[in-house]
Amino acid sequence: MNRIVFSLIATAAVATLSAAPLGKGKNRRQALETPTPVKPVAPKAPTMDLSSPWHVWSDPQGRKIEAAFCALGGSICTVQTRAGQTLRLNLDTLVPADGAFARAFAAKLNESRFQDAYVKQAAYQIDHLIGTTLVSKGLKFNVPVSDEQFVRRLYLDTVGRVPTAEEASSFLGNAAPDKRAKLIDSLLHSPGYTMHMYNWLADTFRVQDEFGKGARAYLFQDWLKDQLAADRPWDALVKDMLTADGKLCENGAAGFLLRDAQMPLDGVSNMLTTFLGANVACAQCHDHPLAHWTQRDFYEMAAFFGATDGYDQGAYGKARKLTNGKGAATGLDKRQVQQIAGVNVFRLLDTGKQELDFPKDYKYDDAKPGSPVTPRLISWASGDAKMPSYQVNSSNPQTLRDEFAKWMTNPENPRFATNIANRTWKKVFGLAVQEPVSDLDDLTKASNPQLLGHLTTIMKAAKFDLRQFQRVLFNSQTYQRAASLTPDLEKGPYLFPGPLLRRMTAEQTWDSVLVLASGREVDNALLRRGDEMQLFSLPGNEMTAANFKVVIERAKEAGMQMGGYGGGGKKGKGVNPQKLMAAYEGVKPQQRNGLLLARASELPQPAPESHFLRLFGQSDRLVADSNTTDGSVPQALMMMNGPIGQLISDSNSSAVVAANSAKGRDEQVDSLYLSFLARKPSITERAAATKSLEGGLALTDVAWTLLNSREFLFVQ
């Protein structure tokens, strides 16, 4: 099995650089105390050795670390050390030569990606397939989208926030004919892309700070972000998760399966739906009444995980005894023991024996109640089982998961590529080609089966690189059309004359508010809480008082936050900004009006119940894909009277500061419009706003008004 061991951070002569200070302590990464911005210089390709990604990175103070280049997003460079640790370095704080190397290497990697010509052709084919269908129904494409709507929509769809006034006007003022394609490429390689994609997947994977029993899943979150930043292809990422071994505090990739360690059958059901669009939830308890899945099918699939144990019940009991009853004599703190025990007992282990049996009350005659289940792969069509991807060895319990993962992530699996293509399309266009995304059992039910087939082809051609796949979608004429109003699907399928008008997601709303309040630097404040979790790994996994004492001592020495970072939402507790602040790399987020101004992906997962994010529909991460964009009165109250309304209608908010620096009233109003809506006001709007400025309102009030406008909340 793949086991990604993250070694603890070296304290040796080579000080590890990271994007920001993590705090003091022996076991912590040393970092730059006063980052000095360094202007990037153009790469000098001829003199640079680009034959290997390995590079020694250094800062102006002379500290160095050797690590391999993985990917570049804006000024955040993702690298991996020899010990296997992924780091994200802020190039602005390193010597110029490092920036040059990173950019040159990124350019070299780009050469192996989709060529512009392929993107054009694949995008053209999308437009063609949609156009043909529209014509056959007597329908037409929407009109082409304006530059103003395009730039706002594209920022939201790629980096998850609105453009700043400066970013918007720089695009709008650009006359180059290929400026849209250029912006697409640049935004797909920005740090905001990782954040935006993470939010999307965190909703699907039900990412939570805590998996129960006090077990913190921070390492999983860091791992997921690192994979996205480092351009890890979807198939490889999924395979890593399904084949991971080890503890929650040691292997980030294990987090996905450990999320359901206490309900393994539910976990299988979620997994099949998430990665294959198999609508199997009903079959867990009885034959599916409508689809063709039987309960036997479900159990035979689940048996691939029947030799995997995710939760060490016995060990947890032992740990509890250390502080309960007689155990009190150990003098150990109950909460600390629980925290440490949690991340050790959540661990993926192959037991060597497939232990799943049919339920005792199994009521069909195709299997005996309570009898052992033989693993078997499901198929959608009669010929499926003969495909090469189905040739798996299910006789060795030790490798059942690996075999399953091999089948599932195979490009020729009947649903794997289609599923992620369909889901990604939905993210970009607001609706999937086949709805719901959780049910791809019958592909002829797609609104446009040829289109879904073509998207599957592009996904395979992109080798599951979701950036490249989305690059094609964004470059299509279909995406670059005006948005459609919410269609009535009862009347028939939506055929994509353009993307759909959408309310911003909770995360897009919050992240946009942040940029308006504190500027685009928020993209560089990265939360990283997983590294120190590794200190919690108990030697030999033995639940003894002595071992716990060793771990507690180790954690104390490292200056670790034993109590966690607050938040998590379970009891509605707020974020504890002081505690959390230590865990940010790169730029430290600002704190204003009692709010921690870090992007949604860089806050507790999910945000606490009373947080703006939750109010606007961030999922509580109990059920997959349950973010919502429904309105509510408390939302309006928050925007009008709450801390967010006050944050934006403040003379210190970035949008107001930018507007204040403009000369005349008209220009000031224009600046605010660009900040909030990425467009200039119409003549009547400008007149109304300037008139209100003469009538006793200030720019801060106009900012309040634009924040509360429906146009702000919707993506056109």
Binding site: N270, A281, E435, S610, D630, V702
Partner: protein, 421 residues
């Protein structure tokens, strides 16, 4: 755009329509045509216009509260007779005084003895799963009966997060959480002087006009409605329902000056104002140890607030149309080790007061030890079906969740009709 249109065998309405009209009280539009009341018959059906559900999180010991036992099971409290003819324990002196107004169910029977799962089961009537979340009674009520008020929400959670109370229904059916009863509804007051607020609102109307006109989208319209409702609410006297400071000091004292007591008082104000369903939570009932102290402290708070609530509702003439339900995760073991008791789901007690429930009545029983439910066992699903029945919901009717699975309120449980007068 949400494409998961909730399917209902009879009423098919799109999500947005549902959301815009029924959420947080815009239009009172029942989805259960004809509100059922006229059609259905039977004891207690539809009597409860309002529901207050009290959750004692952690597992109330039935033997030390509503189901006193003698012999080996007996706990630190003594049995006390009430004028209703049944006995309670000495930990509930105030409840003893209102015993003639309540129905005690002593035959609750469940199988789940793990906190989180049991809490979920008692809050929804369904066993917890990783693939779906089930609604609370409040959300079911909004589905079948429509929004309960023009300005106020239909469901509120007091001392508790909304915790996905909408289940598989639209998020707008989620209860509005009030984490601090003293503070009431967050952000309900404008932060700038009235004159400025009016100018801002006026400018907002002007600047938003062209977008709203040129984009006649139903989601945008729904947001327009939310803003209108919000502005109405901010001006409305209904907002006072959230403000317990408006109560006289002696009333606040009567409920007890603690989070639970004040939460019960807030619940009364809210249901009076038009909220249909309020859940009030009290924590700290997991009495493995120091049960006697726990029953005195936590039990005392509960006793005082619950009795005050029942008496107050009755004095206001609201008890017959307001159902107060008391529930907990599970009971506690008959074996008392001199200090505390372990988890015990096989038998425990719940209470129903008002809303058509009999006054001064005991429904069902546990065996001599308090180990197992004996007569008329009531499962968590039955308990929910009973409450739904009292509220006038069609308990046999199936709703198809967005995942395509059928569900009924109370998970096909049977209403315990014997509790109704």
């Amino acid at each position: 755009m949400n494409t998961n249109i909730l399917r209902d065998p009879q009423d098919r309405r799109t999500f947005v329509e549902r959301c815009a009209r029924a959420a947080f009280g815009l239009t009172i539009l029942p989805f259960f045509a004809g509100a059922a009341a006229a059609e259905q018959r039977g004891a207690g059906f539809g009597k409860a216009k309002r529901i207050i559900m009290i959750h004692l999180d952690g597992g109330l010991s039935h033997i030390d509260s509503f189901d006193p036992k003698e012999g080996a099971s007996k706990g630190p409290g003594s049995a006390v007779s009430t004028k209703a003819g049944f006995q309670l324990t000495s930990f509930l002196p105030e409840t003893v005084k209102v015993a003639d107004k309540i129905t005690v169910i002593r035959s609750m029977a469940a199988k789940v003895g793990v906190h989180e799962n049991a809490r979920y089961l008692m809050r929804t009537g369904f066993e917890k799963r990783g693939t779906i979340v089930h609604p609370t009674i409040g959300a079911w009520g909004q589905h079948y009966l429509g929004a309960s008020s023009k300005t106020l929400p239909s469901s509120v959670a007091v001392n508790h997060s909304s915790a996905h109370g909408n289940g598989f229904f639209p998020a707008t059916y989620s209860p509005l959480p009030i984490l601090d009863p003293d503070a009431g509804l967050a952000n309900s007051k404008a932060t700038v002087p009235d004159e400025k607020a009016a100018k801002r609102t006026q400018l907002l109307a002007q600047l938003d006009a062209s977008f709203s006109k040129s984009v006649p989208d139903e989601n945008v319209r729904a947001y327009n409605d939310f803003y209108d409702t919000t502005m109405q609410l901010m001006k409305s006297s209904d907002l006072a329902a959230f403000d317990i400071n408006a109560e006289k000091a002696e009333v606040r004292d009567r409920y007890g000056r603690n989070k639970f007591g004040q939460g019960c008082l807030l619940a009364r104000r809210l249901v009076e104002g038009g909220v249909r369903f309020v859940e009030v939570h009290s924590g700290g009932w997991d009495m493995h140890k120091e049960l006697e102290d726990g029953m005195e402290d936590r039990g005392g708070e509960f006793d005082r607030a619950f009795a005050a609530l029942v008496a107050d509702l009755d004095a206001r003439g609201l008890l017959d149309s307001t159902l107060v339900a008391v529930t907990t995760e599970f009971g506690r073991k008959p074996t008392f080790d001199g200090n505390g008791r372990g988890h015990h789901p096989l038998a425990f007690s719940t209470v129903l007061a008002g809303g058509g429930a009999k006054r001064g009545f005991v429904y069902g029983s546990s065996d001599e030890k308090g180990y197992k439910a004996k007569d008329n066992p009531v499962t968590p699903g039955d308990f929910h079906a009973t409450i739904a029945w009292a509220a006038g919901m069609p308990i046999e009717k199936e709703v198809i969740a967005p995942s395509g699975r059928p569900f009924t309120v109370g998970n096909k449980g049977r209403a315990a009709l014997g509790v109704f007068a």
